[in-house]
């Protein structure tokens, strides 16, 4: 039933922590599911499907980084490195041992988690800016290692070709087929993270973020939970790397450079730190932004500039917009797109009798 509330009447923690706090949420989820499973694949052109696939991949990675940076408060500028660990692990397993995707994806994730734990070890002693720089270092060291150890990178140009994933003998190649494949993992990541954050582990993460010394005093083993956060977060990153490898059909370390790490940070900043919905919105926003800029300029810029100027303008304007938006959100709306959405929702929640 659709009905409007007249106030917040939660009387138990269980009600407060519920995944669907409002009855209308179930309808909204059902509607979204129908939209993404039924309507979108029929309506979208292959180009739009490709773009949407990129968004889905980014959603997994952004949620993963959100667990570490948004929920646990540990900055990582090295997530691109973890993604490449996942990508190359899976690519090697697929090509050398012929593993199917349902083994290759967790394997990539686990390997990335392992590396993530190693990178996370310094987080016991250092935090804030020092940790940021340490993770940056891990990015460079991973990149260099993959590029120079031919046993990992497969020799020439450090790239490994990967066959498309096959489900029950079907090879998933077209954008629509890949879409359902990726949608499954994106939804899995969203649901898993929402539940993780309601659990003991998730609450410990949030306690560490809010006040690490106080968290230690109430009995949270900070070091262990920080390592959990690094492991879980890099697991997501590794899975993202494998998914992207499947999407491209090739594992290449250049796809996971320092700029990717920064892109994912930008996603969770613009989306809103410490929220799964924020990570999803941010992932969509940052992935679509360059394409939207390009389309807008080619469609409407013709009146002002010559095609040559536009070609020069697009990449630079995208950079400026990207950086400018990060700064804008940090100053004007630090809680990001998630906050904007909550403002809208809260306005309509008790509408028309809001108080």
């Amino acid at each position: 039933m659709f009905h409007s509330e007249t106030g917040v009447f939660k009387t138990s923690y269980a009600a407060d922590m519920a995944l669907f706090p409002l009855p209308v949420a179930r309808w909204a989820i059902a509607g979204l599911a129908a939209l993404f499973v039924g309507v979108v694949p029929l309506m979208f052109t292959p180009y739009l499907m490709t773009l949407l696939n990129l968004v889905l991949i980014a959603v997994v990675g952004a949620i993963g980084l959100g667990i570490l940076t948004g929920y646990t408060g540990q900055i990582s500028i090295g997530h691109g490195g973890f993604m490449s660990v996942g990508a190359y692990t899976a690519a090697n397993l697929i090509v050398r041992l012929g593993l199917p995707f349902w083994l290759a994806i967790p394997a990539g994730g686990l390997m990335a988690a392992l590396i993530g734990i190693v990178v996370g070890i310094p987080s016991l002693r250092i935090k804030g800016i020092y940790l940021a720089v340490a993770t940056l270092a891990s990015q460079f060291i991973i990149e260099w290692t993959i590029n120079h150890v031919t046993w990992i990178s497969g020799g020439i140009e450090a790239s490994i070709q990967v066959p498309p994933p096959s489900v029950f003998g079907w090879k998933l190649q077209s954008p629509v087929q890949l879409y359902f494949f990726l949608l499954f993992f994106a939804v899995l990541a969203i649901v898993a993270t929402l539940n993780l954050m309601r659990s003991r582990i998730g609450r410990a993460f949030i306690a560490i973020r809010d006040q690490d010394i106080a968290a230690e005093i109430i009995g949270i083993d900070i070091f262990r939970y920080k390592l959990y956060a690094f492991a879980i977060s890099s697991f997501y990153a590794g899975v993202t790397g494998v998914l992207y490898t499947y999407y491209l059909g090739i594992a290449n370390y250049e796809q996971f450079g320092i700029d990717v790490s920064i892109n994912y940070l930008a996603m969770i900043i613009i989306g809103g730190l410490g929220s799964v919905l924020g990570a999803v919105l941010g992932a969509a926003f940052i992935t679509i932004l360059p394409e939207a800029t390009r389309l807008f300029l080619t469609d409407f810029g013709g009146a002002l500039f010559s095609p040559d100027t536009i070609r020069r303008l697009v990449p630079n304007l995208t950079l400026i917009l990207f950086g400018g938006l990060i700064i804008f959100f940090l100053i004007v709306e630090p809680e990001g797109l998630n906050r904007l959405w909550r403002n809208i929702r809260n306005y309509f929640r008790f509408w028309p009798f809001s108080y």
Binding site: P122, L265, N316, I326
Partner: protein, 299 residues
């Protein structure tokens, strides 16, 4: 034990020291800002690049002689840094570390895009009146541009050292860095010194931009100098000027030696990552660096 190629080591070390002192100059920009405002500037490399573009643009597009171009770059960077502090950094005061990190990273993107839009994507040169003839000193062969760069860098590092120790403004800046509340109580306008710290970082970046630009050529890649400076800072200590110098020299030498000895063994590129390995080691053993101040946290 096999005979070490001492001559080779000497040449590599000398080159490393020269380049290292130029790293120290760029690292000084970080240290100034971190010391005074507790913010870390991830766009320092882009500052250097932007200053390089300003200088190259002034001499190539407008045809000014090199010293006017350098002055213009200096002036431009100071104005820019002042404005930046006012518009971007001041609203972020007191916010978590990640906010400042991301804001400066975002700023880096803006600067990169703007520079390429304004000055074009090609590599430009800054025509400093320095010859190409290598300078011979005993067994050493030293490129003159590196010598000039090192001399200017060390000169300015010494000048900044004096400035902080002796001048009234420098003492006030150290007071702000050491304890903001007490500094305020002593009648120091803390905000003004925050702005001043950014302006000084602008000056340092302008110098770095002209020197590095003259050495490597000015294009987007110049911003990568900024990435080299993290190991320098961590090694020396984030809040120590002397640390920036020593860290710069160590990183310069280590980098040069690894490029000379390890690159042939493993196929290149060690220059970019050995300093980071060194940095991780320092972080594990002594996170505050060689000369840094240990921070004690209270709830």
């Amino acid at each position: 034990m096999p005979d070490l190629p001492w001559r080779f080591i000497l040449i590599l070390s000398a080159n490393g020291l020269l380049v290292g002192s130029m790293y120290a100059l760029v690292a000084l920009g970080f240290v100034l800002i971190y010391k005074a405002t507790d913010a870390i500037n991830f766009a320092q490399g882009e500052f250097v690049m932007f200053a390089g573009f300003l200088a190259a643009g002034a001499s190539n597009l407008a045809g000014f002689p090199w010293w006017i171009s350098a002055l213009l770059a200096l002036l431009g960077m100071v104005v820019f840094a002042f404005g930046l502090e006012r518009v971007v950094l001041r609203p972020l005061l007191g916010r978590p570390v990640i906010a400042v990190v991301m804001a400066t990273l975002g700023l880096g993107f803006v600067l990169r895009g703007t520079a390429t839009l304004a000055f074009g994507g090609g590599t430009q040169t800054i025509p400093l009146p320095v010859g190409d003839e290598p300078f011979l000193l005993g067994p050493l062969i030293l490129p003159p541009i590196e010598l000039v760069g090192a001399a200017v860098s060390l000169g300015f590092l010494a000048a900044f050292g004096w400035f902080f120790l002796k001048s009234r403004i420098g003492v006030a800046m150290r007071a702000v860095a050491s304890n903001q509340q007490v500094a305020m109580a002593m009648g120091i306008n803390v905000r003004r010194y925050f702005a001043l710290a950014w302006a000084l970082a602008g000056v340092v970046s302008a110098l770095g931009g002209v020197l590095w630009g003259a050495m490597l050529g000015v294009d987007n890649q110049l911003a990568l100098v900024g990435l080299k400076v993290f190991p320098v800072m961590i090694l020396g200590g984030l809040d120590s000027i002397l640390g920036a110098v020593v860290g710069g020299l160590i990183v310069g030498v280590v980098e040069s030696l690894s490029a000379g000895f390890l690159d042939p063994l493993v196929g290149g590129g060690t220059k970019d990552f050995i300093p980071y390995l060194l940095m991780i080691a320092v972080l594990m053993v002594r996170p505050e660096g060689i000369f840094g101040r240990r921070r004690i946290e209270r709830v």
